[in-house]
Amino acid sequence: MSTSRYRYLRPEVPELLRAGTLFRDGEKRSTRFSYADEMLVLGEQLDNVVMLNADVSKGMGTFTFGQRFPEREFNLGIAEQNTIAAAAGMAHAGLIPFVSTYAIFATLRGLDMIRNSVCYTHANVKIACSHAGITPAEDGATHQGQEDLTLMRAMPGMTVIAPADELTTRRAVQAAAEWQGPVYISMTKEPVPFLYDESYPFAIGRAVTIREGDDATIIANRDMVAQALLAAESAAAEGLDVRVIDCHTLKPLDEEAILVAARETGAIVTAEDNILVGGLGSAVAELLIEHGPVPMRRIGIDETFAQSGPYLDLLERYGLSAGHIVQAVREVVARKGDA
């Protein structure tokens, strides 16, 4: 029944969802490597694109850009502040720099530079970070960029994209290069499933409904889109028909898609691998409270630092798994009559 509800998914994904084997080997990839591969394409297309690495070019896969375009790759070492402010200078001198490092290093160590030298100056800098959320799972809390979306969303003028898979990451890279102004791309260390086929209509600021449904809507981004799909599949077995929106662009937020979903399904669950403060759940709640409140719950990391462990185990431990999302769906559906 549910198969026909899906949109833009690769043909095998619904079956994997039903079988619960979405994360099997060979069907997933870290989006950082999807990014590194697409940068090689972009480098051929645009000769003013430059790569700034900060000693994690092997972890990012972006050393390949230096191999292909040695005159346009600079590894500035373990020095994120210098790297990001240098990127601003390069942008103001006509280049399109992509800064590649881990979320925690760019968005925290480099935050002053992102605010004052990049965003405030409207610099055409792209900051592409892996290791967002708890996806650097075994590395532990110091490497888990669980607030990158919060911080980047707080920067005026920053466009914030958190793509869910290989295809949308590649599209995000192309879109970021075309976009005039600062863009932040949030990516995963942990491999995430290949979800989409070529028909996926990627555009910055346009959320995409990837599963139709009328009983409630799950709005998710980045690695939590896969959990949202698993949750919807599970909810379907209970007779709940749940819409799933891949809200890959956190800012600018697709307000129309969210308001329509709230109106048509009457209940919202947000799902993000990010602290609850200031991320996707906050953005959706802020919108709905002013323009159309419905029963809502937010799934995310709640006022804690996580620990080392396998990624899927961490999702379970910190309340982010599909099971937790399904429980939240049940709750909001049950509250629909209350208002």
């Binding site: 003013n48 430059v50 005159e71 346009r72 600079f74 500035l76 070492g77 020095a79 502040q81 210098n82 790297t83 990001i84 402010a85 240098a86 990127a87 601003a88 200078g89 390069m90 942008a91 103001h92 001198a93 006509g94 280049l95 720099p97 002053d112 530079m113 004052n116 030298s117 405030y120 100056t121 409207h122």
Partner: protein, 288 residues
């Protein structure tokens, strides 16, 4: 090579312009009733030499791709930058009265989006050298021929990011980058030596791979010579440690940490203009 002809033919003329710029910036801060006079006055001779003699710029073409770039990384001293941009024709003289006003072109700290001639936003210390490094590197990538001049404060070198950039520039063999360090010995709270001493400065920069020059930042001939000589220091980036006096030219401001960030009242302003003009052989009434 496109170059604009030097506006000032000789040292004496540059000194006169520096005095005019000092008068303008003191007036500006007085009218705004706030600002940072001390570090503006210490940098006045250096900025004058850059804008009226050394830099290859054309105020009529502020977007000329091969123009030299100046960044005032110690952004709080922007009154000296604004005064130079006004005198050099990037900004109208009416701007003088608008520092820090709502909707003014002249923000409290430099804003490249709002102010013609301002090449880089600054205010949070420790950004400008990195941004300048990026601009210098971009010249190489794009095959353009320009030089980047970055002025940093001595107190600013307490920022860790300065040393990230200091490490990177020589390793990148950036020979189109000159840093001017305004060594006025005072930071916001007190004398640098009483807060967090930074010496030996020359040895530090030399050990990072820079070509280091040291000058009196108020001797115009030395200033011009050092800036011009810095063009020839291939393949290294150059730092000119310019020994200066905070509040230079105004007796009650000189070497006094109070004048890092306080504005002179009407009487103090009158005295300041009198002293600056007297030293330069000018009449206050003529400097307008």
């Amino acid at each position: 090579m496109h170059t604009s002809p030097p506006v000032a033919a000789d040292i004496r003329e540059l000194e006169t312009i520096a005095a005019q710029i000092r008068c303008d910036l003191v007036r500006m801060i007085h009218i705004a009733r706030m600002g940072h006079p001390g570090g503006s006055l210490s940098a006045a001779d250096l900025v004058t030499a850059l804008y009226f003699q050394v830099m290859r710029i054309d105020p009529a073409r502020p977007d000329w791709p091969e123009r030299d770039r100046f960044i005032l990384s110690k952004g709080h001293a922007c009154p000296v930058w604004y005064a130079a941009l006004i005198r050099r024709g990037y900004l109208g003289r009416e701007c003088l009265d608008t520092l820090r006003c709502l909707d003014s072109l002249l923000q409290g700290h430099p804003d490249m989006v709002k102010t013609p001639g301002v090449e880089m936003t600054a205010g949070s210390l420790g950004h400008g050298l990195s941004a300048g490094l990026g601009m210098a590197l971009a010249a190489r990538v794009r095959g353009l021929n320009y030089r980047v001049w970055v002025m940093i404060g001595d107190g600013e070198t307490q920022e860790g990011s300065i040393w990230e950039a200091a490490m990177a520039a020589p390793n990148l063999r950036l020979d189109n980058l000159t840093v001017i360090l305004d060594r006025n010995r005072i930071q916001n709270d007190d004398l640098i030596d009483n807060i967090m001493p930074i010496e030996p400065l020359a040895a530090k920069w030399k050990s990072f791979g820079w070509h280091v020059m040291e000058i009196d930042g108020h001797e115009m001939a030395q200033v011009v010579d050092a800036l011009e000589a810095s063009r020839e220091a291939e393949p290294q980036p150059v730092i000119i440690i310019a020994n200066t006096v905070k509040g230079k030219g105004v007796s009650f401001m000189e070497d006094n940490p109070f004048w890092h960030g306080n504005a002179p009242d009407a009487d103090q302003t009158a005295q300041a203009l009198q002293e600056i003009c007297a030293a330069a052989g000018l009449e206050v009434a003529d400097v307008d």
